[in-house]
């Protein structure tokens, strides 16, 4: 039921966005157990295709529009993500995972080009320009980090069939997303984060979150053959730890709760004045927007032109029994769904929302994710390793069909023939199963050293209430001396795998992403070249010197050598020095 309403909300938002309205924004807030809050910002603006082509930009950001035109990009998806979505306690992902990327930066785009080579050169143009616009290292997406997925992504926009589109996908799992990426993100908004819900976005709070994802999607939306809009859809999703966010800005260091304020389990036998078994908090924590974000919403963004679209500017997804206080000028609307309350924003007056502390209120039921996935690197040693991917289907009735897509860097060379599957059924017995029983289809493009990474796409089907573990072995390549980064011993990032679950009932697929991995590679001692030079030089010099001396020296007996030396001036002086030294030694030994 909950899924249905969240989806219907999304669909309403989508339809509002794609209508004549030029700009639309809203904020969804939802408390998550144990004491977190999901804040989901969404900003949508569009422009007509004709003014986009003539470069007359009103709400559509000019910088982004010019980049897209310069790179012949028809559809763009850019994600900046950090942290991990804890699906065990937070349930299914916001937007069904459609608006998030793997850890770091993920970019995929449909580029119009006559052939693959032109498409790739346009792709490089696109990454270079976006890198400058978003202050991210997107320019490091080169051919080794670029793939062309076959079945994992579908275009979200309406494209005419005559266009020759190429899908390119690139990831930067090691990119640290931070404030310098948020500032250009906010500059793309028509209200610049100075009015409307975007005024809450602040780098200090945003990047302090347990999980955050920023996304930008640009796609063409056509209602008729000649009536096309170009839509830019920006979202920011964050999961805030309520307690952590409520810390005052001037005094952010967490301190232990004083002893007299601890709630202790007095029934424990060891409970005394100085030993305490803390009880779990039963009351729902109270919070307000000002406390969590450090500021209030500074009025509505007046560009949302129709009154109706301002109605759902701030929506709260919370149990109906909880009390919610809002600023007096706003209008509250309850949706047919009991769990959702929406508020309209007053123009140019600060808006705040307070949810006071309340004892044991009913929770909003959370959706369970359709699939759990986990990916780890196993094995030991510098040469070989293995990948283990665990899929878990929590449903007791339905089997899950999905696409598993991963790109591996070229220095990780998988052996696909070692791909094995073990299944734990509902009976709890582990057994080896032939991979063909689970994997319906495989698309595999082996990597080429220093040119492209490995691309693996598997279509899998998981029976109900079962856990499947896929494993395969890989070999670690040895890199060239100059290919190591400065922090070589930290390990090398392996991009997260993308899982696309088909959801026929909604039409839009559900996306999951695993965490990114760190691959330790054999790292040399970086003073090696000098050692090699010194050592080989010494060996060569030794060999050369002895051979050369053998060839050109004349061999005489020791006596003859003395006689020869005595003939020369230097030899005579040397002899005298030796004699002098002998005399001194002789004297000193006598004294002893």
């Amino acid at each position: 039921m909950n899924t249905f309403f969240l989806l219907s909300l999304i669909l309403v938002a989508l339809s509002v966005g794609s209508a004549a309205s030029n700009y639309h924004e809203n904020l969804h807030l939802q408390p998550l157990p144990p004491s977190n809050l999901l804040a989901s910002f969404n900003f949508k603006s569009n422009t007509t295709q004709s003014s986009f082509e003539k470069q007359h930009f009103q709400y559509f950001p000019r910088a982004l529009g010019q980049i897209l035109q310069h790179a012949n990009t028809r559809e763009l998806h850019l994600r900046f993500t950090s942290g991990r979505w804890d699906s065990e306690s937070w349930g299914s992902r916001p937007w069904n995972g459609a608006k998030e990327g793997g850890t770091g930066v993920e970019l995929w785009a449909w580029i119009e080009a006559p052939d693959d080579e032109t498409a790739f050169s346009k792709w490089i143009t696109l990454t270079q320009s976006l890198s400058g616009l978003f202050c991210a290292s997107l320019n490091f997406i080169d051919s080794t980090r670029t793939t062309q997925p076959v079945v994992s992504f579908d275009p979200a926009g309406d494209h005419s069939p005559s266009e020759n589109l190429h899908l390119l996908h690139g990831t930067l799992p090691g990119e640290v997303v931070c404030t310098e990426n948020l500032t250009p993100f906010l500059k793309l908004l028509p209200c610049k984060g100075k009015a409307g819900v975007a005024s809450l976005l602040d780098g200090h709070k945003l990047f302090d979150a347990a999980w955050q994802s920023m996304s930008i999607d640009v796609r063409p939306v056509c209602s008729g053959p000649e009536e096309c809009l170009v839509q830019v859809d920006q979202t920011v999703d964050i999961v805030l730890d309520i307690e952590r966010s409520k810390r005052p800005r001037g005094n952010p260091i967490p301190r232990p709760i004083p002893g007299d304020k601890l709630v202790c389990d007095t029934s424990k036998s060891y409970h005394t004045r100085d030993t305490c078994y803390p009880l779990e908090q039963t009351a729902e924590q109270g919070w307000s927007i000002t406390e969590l974000f450090g500021r209030s919403i500074s009025g509505s963004c007046p560009l949302t032109d129709s009154e109706s679209s301002n109605e759902d500017a701030v929506c709260l997804h919370i149990s109906p029994v909880r009390e919610v206080r809002s600023s007096p000028d706003s209008v509250e609307t309850k949706w047919t769904n009991d769990f959702t309350r929406c508020f309209s924003l007053p123009p140019s007056i600060p808006f705040d929302l307070t949810v006071p502390e309340q004892a044991s209120a009913a929770h909003v039921p959370l959706d369970q994710p359709v699939l759990h996935a986990e990916r780890t690197i196993v094995g030991h040693g510098q040469e070989r390793g293995g990948m283990r991917i665990i899929f878990n289907n929590p449903s007791n009735e339905k089997s899950v069909d999905f696409i598993y897509f991963e790109t591996l860097p070229w220095f990780l060379r998988p052996y696909i023939h070692t791909l094995q599957a073990t299944m734990t059924g509902p009976d709890g017995i582990r057994r080896q199963v032939p991979t063909s029983e689970i994997i319906k289809e495989t698309f595999y493009r082996p990597g080429v050293d220093r040119e492209r990474g490995t691309q693996l796409e598997l279509a899998l089907s998981l029976p109900p209430a079962s856990t499947v573990t896929l494993t395969y072995d890989f070999e670690k390549a040895i890199l060239r001396y100059t290919e190591y980064p400065p922090d070589a011993n930290r390990g090398f990032n392996v991009a997260p795998a993308v899982i696309k679950v088909d959801a026929p009932q909604t039409g839009r697929p559900i996306y999951l992403r695993t965490t990114s991995l760190l691959l330790p590679l054999p790292t040399p001692d970086f003073s090696m070249p000098y050692n090699v030079i010194i050592l080989t030089s010494t060996v060569i010099a030794l060999a050369f010197g002895s051979i050369f001396n053998l060839l050109v020296r004349r061999f005489v007996t020791a006596d003859e050598a003395v006689a020869l030396r005595a003939q020369t001036f230097r030899g005579r002086i040397g002899g005298k020095i030796v004699a002098l030294r002998d005399r001194i030694r002789g004297k000193s030994s006598k004294v002893e």
Partner: protein, 564 residues
């Protein structure tokens, strides 16, 4: 067998030397000495004829041959003397041929007397004379139409603002008689022409005198200085200012029109029709010189930077004023999204600023101006729209700017665009000014490409360790050939062709100067090289050198002994 022989020999020497401790070894056999000489010679031969060439070959840098002297000649102005012969056609429908030629001759003579700046001179031609020589036709700068009008006492002229025609009306009595060498009509025409091209001449003199190439133009007496003395100091000052603020020449300019406002209104403007009406026609006529792209944007909530002094309220006139000295800080470069457009070529920004209703009307302090030019960057126009009541008490900006509200702004922008491109302010005819612009651009490009050649030549001479790829050499030769064709075209008065050649020369020159592989050279300090070479060369070099020294000494001693 030889080993045996040696063995026995050494044991023999050992036995014989035993009795006396200081006995000398027997003298070496000549063939042993010869063998040693051969060994040392062979080692040194390998080093000199194999090792050294390989080392030389593998560590040397490819340097393509460049015509250094020719490049320096261009930079020094020795290869080309830029001249600007302007051809002026005389259209004399009402005069007989002979009289027309006589008038032409006298006028030309008067003009030559007036002109002090020989690089820029006017050549008069009759219209029908022009028609006869179809080949090698020079661009006609101006057509003078002589029209007789009876009721005039003195000649009168009218410059058509849309074409390059000067109509001169004269009383028929002033036609010079065939024998005279001076006439009031011809001196009037000469004076008019001189006046029309005065500013262009001043600009040319300025451009040429600021360059080594131009400085050499009129040796030995340098009439340049005379030409400059002719120019009034105010004109010279304004020319310097205008040249300083005009953009550097480029193939393509991006024009970016932005609407900035500190609040949320106005959020839309009739930009398409404004561009269509005021900018597109201008871009059309400028297209022979450069290409233009146009893009526009609306930026709301654009506040001043915190360091900018805020506008002050002038009580007496009830206006908000910006101080002129604070205008440079008006653009909040850190926050306003004014990034240059993608693609090659500079961006010219035009900013339409609508102040907040609380700060309206906003004017610039002195002169109450509302617009100004930011040198080499763009222009700003402050638009104070009539405020409309939004709610009970507050007033706000209108949410939409209609086309007629944009008219003053876009007229100013088109004017600013012309001055940013370096168009002169006189005469009134736009086609004439654009022709002048073509000549100015051709001259500046010619000079800048030549000086780039000189810099490249000096750079390659002063840095012997930078590589010069073959592409640089080919770019340089392309530049030089286009420079000379530009120079030839100038001499023949074909300025469009000169500009085209100079454009190519400039791009090729820039390409050769900014060649990436010339700078992207890995840098190995000398200490590094020593650290790499020494462990090998030290232990090997010492025995080799000592062996060589011994052999040479032995040869020298033997040679001396033989002579003595």
């Amino acid at each position: 067998m030889s080993a045996n022989h040696e063995d026995s020999e050494s044991s023999q020497t050992a036995m014989t030397s035993k009795p006396s401790a200081s006995s000398l070894p027997p003298p070496e056999k000549p063939n042993a000495i010869q063998t040693r000489f051969g060994v040392v010679a062979a080692f040194w031969a390998v080093i000199l004829f194999l090792g050294f060439p390989i080392w030389w070959k593998t560590t040397s840098i490819y340097r393509a041959e460049l015509p250094i002297q020719e490049m320096l000649d261009w930079a020094g102005g020795k290869s080309c003397r830029p001249v600007f012969p302007l051809e002026i056609r005389f259209d004399t429908p009402s005069l007989p041929d002979l009289e027309a030629q006589q008038l032409l001759r006298i006028t030309q003579h008067t003009l030559d007397d007036l002109n002090e700046f020989s690089a820029h001179h006017l050549r008069l031609k009759l219209a029908d004379e022009e028609a006869q020589q179809a080949t090698e036709k020079a661009d006609t700068a101006l057509t003078v139409r002589l029209l007789a009008q009876d009721d005039l006492s003195s000649p009168r002229s009218l410059l058509d603002a849309d074409t390059t025609t000067l109509d001169v009306f004269y009383p028929p009595s002033q036609i010079p008689p065939p024998s005279s060498s001076i006439s009031p009509l011809s001196s009037y025409i000469a004076g008019e022409l001189q006046r029309l091209f005065a500013e262009e001449k001043a600009i040319m003199a300025h451009i040429l005198s600021n360059n080594a190439m131009g400085a050499n133009v009129n040796t030995p007496q340098s009439p340049n200085s005379q030409a400059q003395q002719q120019i009034s100091p105010q004109l010279a000052e304004s020319i310097t200012r205008r040249l300083r603020r005009s953009m550097k020449y480029a193939e393509t300019y991006h024009l970016a029109f932005s609407l900035f406002t500190p609040g949320s209104a106005p959020s839309s403007w009739d930009i398409e029709s404004a561009v269509q009406a005021y900018i597109s026609p201008l871009v059309q006529v400028l297209s022979p010189i450069s290409n233009f792209t146009i893009d526009t944007q609306v930026q709301l909530y654009a506040s001043f930077s915190p360091t900018t002094p805020p506008p002050e309220y002038d009580e007496t006139q009830q206006v908000w004023t910006l101080k002129e000295e604070n205008l440079s800080a008006f653009i909040n470069a850190a926050e306003w999204p004014l990034n240059p457009s993608i693609g090659s070529g500079p961006t010219i920004n035009f900013i339409l600023y609508v102040p907040a209703p609380s700060q309206s009307p906003l004017l610039v302090n002195e002169g109450k101006a509302t617009s100004w030019i930011i040198p080499q960057w763009g222009g700003v126009f402050i638009l104070n729209p009539p405020s409309i009541p939004t709610s009970e008490s507050t007033k706000g900006n209108p949410p939409h700017l209609p086309a007629n509200a944009l008219t003053p702004a876009f007229l100013t922008f088109s004017h600013q665009l012309l001055s940013l491109l370096g168009t002169p302010q006189t005469p009134t005819s736009l086609p004439l000014r654009l022709q002048t612009l073509i000549r100015i651009r051709a001259a500046t490009l010619l000079l800048s490409a030549s000086s780039t050649m000189g810099s490249l030549a000096r750079l390659t001479e002063s840095l012997p360790s930078i590589p010069i790829p073959a592409t640089v050499a080919s770019s340089v030769s392309a530049t030089l050939s286009h420079l000379s064709s530009a120079c030839d075209s100038l001499r023949q008065g074909r300025f469009m062709a000169a500009l085209a050649s100079a454009r190519v020369a400039e791009t090729e020159a820039e390409r050769s100067f900014f060649e990436k592989s010339m700078v992207g050279q890995m840098y190995f300090p000398d200490e590094h090289k020593v650290a790499v070479y020494l462990p090998l060369l030290g232990p090997i070099g010492v025995p080799l050198v000592l062996g060589l020294v011994k052999e040479i000494r032995r040869v020298v001693v033997g040679w001396k002994a033989r002579r003595g």
